[in-house]
């Protein structure tokens, strides 16, 4: 029982259809407080769809989602943000006409009712080391900086659960190490995460708890090392 009470997110039998295609076909995943769960799987296995459904960008077609002890099934994004769920995007979506500061300000003012917004903005920008660019228009940032801005915006809403979608894609080796370190620092402030990633080495540096998806369903849960020994996992990644 005590173990159950620490569950922050519990997804059961989640279904998402696009026309006749079931992108998610009964997915189960749970995340404890302050836990990082890696989410891996081949292209088209439904990882990003799962993130989109949990963050309210898509509406689910079946199953259940519970967060912090209550159902959040079919909640719109802004309500999920207020409950404590936020995310980043594989291709960052900053509000490009606004400055870095304005992007984070919006999230601090509308996304969180706690604390002083000014402090929240400053903390979030310092966390990802973008404070020196705060007055830049975000369209002018590099790809990596836009990813960091996405992370800062999400942090400014004070999430309990952060869904990180392919943050490593397109980053240099050096940037990768720094991002991994930053995610671990975020976890240390009490934030749980689901980290979607192709780069298995990157996941390995964050957590030993990995969920592997295939064809819209769970295939495996365990460490990367165990996954490498798992026949079906090897098959979906490398082919028979």
């Amino acid at each position: 029982m005590s173990h159950n009470s620490k569950k922050l997110l519990r997804v059961e039998g989640l279904v998402k259809k696009f026309g006749g295609f079931k992108a998610l076909n009964g997915v189960n995943i749970d995340v404890c407080q302050e836990q990082i769960v890696g989410l891996a799987g081949p292209n088209g296995s439904g990882k990003t769809t799962l993130i989109n459904v949990i963050s309210g960008v898509y509406r689910p077609d079946g199953g259940s989602i519970e967060f912090d002890g209550g159902s959040i099934y079919k909640f719109p994004s802004h309500k999920l943000v207020h409950k404590g769920i936020n995310r980043t995007f594989q291709v960052p979506k900053p509000l490009s006409a606004l400055t870095v500061w304005e992007n984070v300000r919006l999230a601090a003012v509308y996304g969180s009712s706690e604390g002083n917004p000014l402090e929240t903005i400053r903390d979030a920008l310092e966390f990802v080391e973008l404070d020196n660019l705060k007055d830049s228009i975000s369209a002018g940032l590099t790809f990596a900086q836009q990813k960091l801005l996405g992370l800062a915006t999400a942090l400014a809403t004070k999430p309990k659960l952060l869904l990180v979608d392919e943050i490593a894609a397109g980053l240099s080796h050096q940037e990768l190490n720094w991002i991994a370190e930053t995610l671990l620092r975020i976890r240390a402030t009490g934030v749980a995460m689901i980290v979607v990633e192709h780069h298995l080495g990157f996941i390995d540096s964050l957590t030993s708890d990995v969920v592997v998806m295939n064809a819209g369903a769970n295939l495996f849960r365990g460490s990367i090392q165990e996954a490498a020994q798992h026949e079906e996992v090897v098959e979906v990644f490398l082919g028979r």
Binding site: V81, L106, A107, Y110
Partner: protein
């Protein structure tokens, strides 16, 4: 905190003072009234188009709803014209509430659906079967309550209200949230913004301003027809003024309306054929070379546009 409102409020004060004192030196009150009318309409359109990106081609529908709402309040309910103007504003808001589902459309689809809605409202109001309420196509006669000076200063009040609304939006987090919605609704909602609620509020505020304008216009003009207050010219003029000046600022739409409406009066009334030619060319040049209006030239010169 209040400091950031300073430039915007200065603009509001200058324009308000201008129209408060100009009648003493310039006796064409009707020109000044129409100028204020278009300044206020331009700011009203700016609220929905400038901040959220929805281009309402049927904006005149709110103007007509306000004019008729106020006129009916005066003729049938015998309410004082001043109060009737406010009722006219709320009639437009009611029209806006009915049209909220249109906000689910975007781009040209929204513009066309809104245009159709305004014409539908026009046909309903102009229907001879409603003669007892709207006088149908025969027009409204408010000459019993006609009062040019009261109408003029009511319009000034409406203009100040519209400018203050935009000044608030230009400098507040609410305005920032609308700009976020304009750019990307998913990113805005993940910042915690309730997109449906915020854009509906902007829509109704924009409708309210147009309704107040229509009501004040009806009172000041005293005699008007459905074809006057539902004329698409009102939408087109307002849109061109806003585009010419520059969106999402207090000053942009004011600059656009001041310059172009003055020009319309000097060229358009004496030689309308040249005016239409000139306007057509101007729209082409604007779309091609200056899509963000006069304000964008100022911004390039590092001038802050309040």
């Amino acid at each position: 905190m209040l400091k950031r409102f300073f430039p915007s409020l200065t603009v509001v004060l200058v324009i308000a003072a201008l129209f408060l004192f100009l009648p003493r030196f310039y006796n064409n009150q009707s020109f000044l009234f129409n100028m204020m009318l278009y300044l206020a309409l331009a700011e009203g359109l700016n609220i929905i188009y400038g901040f959220t990106g929805y281009l309402p081609f049927g904006y005149v529908g709110f103007f007509g709803a306000g004019a008729y709402g106020a006129a009916i309040a005066i003729t049938l309910l015998h309410i004082s014209p001043f109060l009737a103007v406010i009722i006219g504003g709320f009639c437009a808001v009611l029209t806006g509430v009915i049209l909220i589902p249109l906000l689910r459309l975007s781009g040209a689809y929204f513009a066309i659906a809104n245009l159709a809605a305004s014409q539908a409202l026009y046909q309903v109001v102009a229907n001879p079967s409603l003669e007892k309420i709207t006088q149908g196509p025969y027009g409204i006669d408010l000459s019993a309550v006609y009062n040019a000076n009261a109408g003029y200063y009511t319009m000034l009040g409406v203009l100040i209200f519209a400018m203050l609304l935009v000044a608030y939006m230009r400098n507040s987090d609410f305005g920032l949230s609308l700009l976020a919605i304009k750019e990307d609704q998913v990113s805005a909602s993940l910042a915690g913004v309730n997109v449906v609620k915020a854009r509906s509020i902007a829509w109704m505020l924009s409708a309210f301003v147009a309704g107040l304008c229509g009501a004040a216009f009806g009172w000041y003009t005293a005699v008007f027809y459905p074809s006057t207050v539902f004329s698409l010219d009102v939408s087109v003029f307002t849109i061109v003024f806003v585009l010419f000046g520059g969106i999402a600022t207090v000053a942009g739409p004011l600059i656009g309306a001041l310059l172009l409406y003055s020009m319309y009066n000097f060229i358009g009334i004496s030689t309308p054929q040249y005016f239409q030619l000139f306007y057509g060319l101007l729209i082409i040049v604007l779309v091609l070379f200056l899509p963000d209006g006069i304000a964008s030239i100022l911004r390039k010169g590092k001038v802050y546009v309040p």
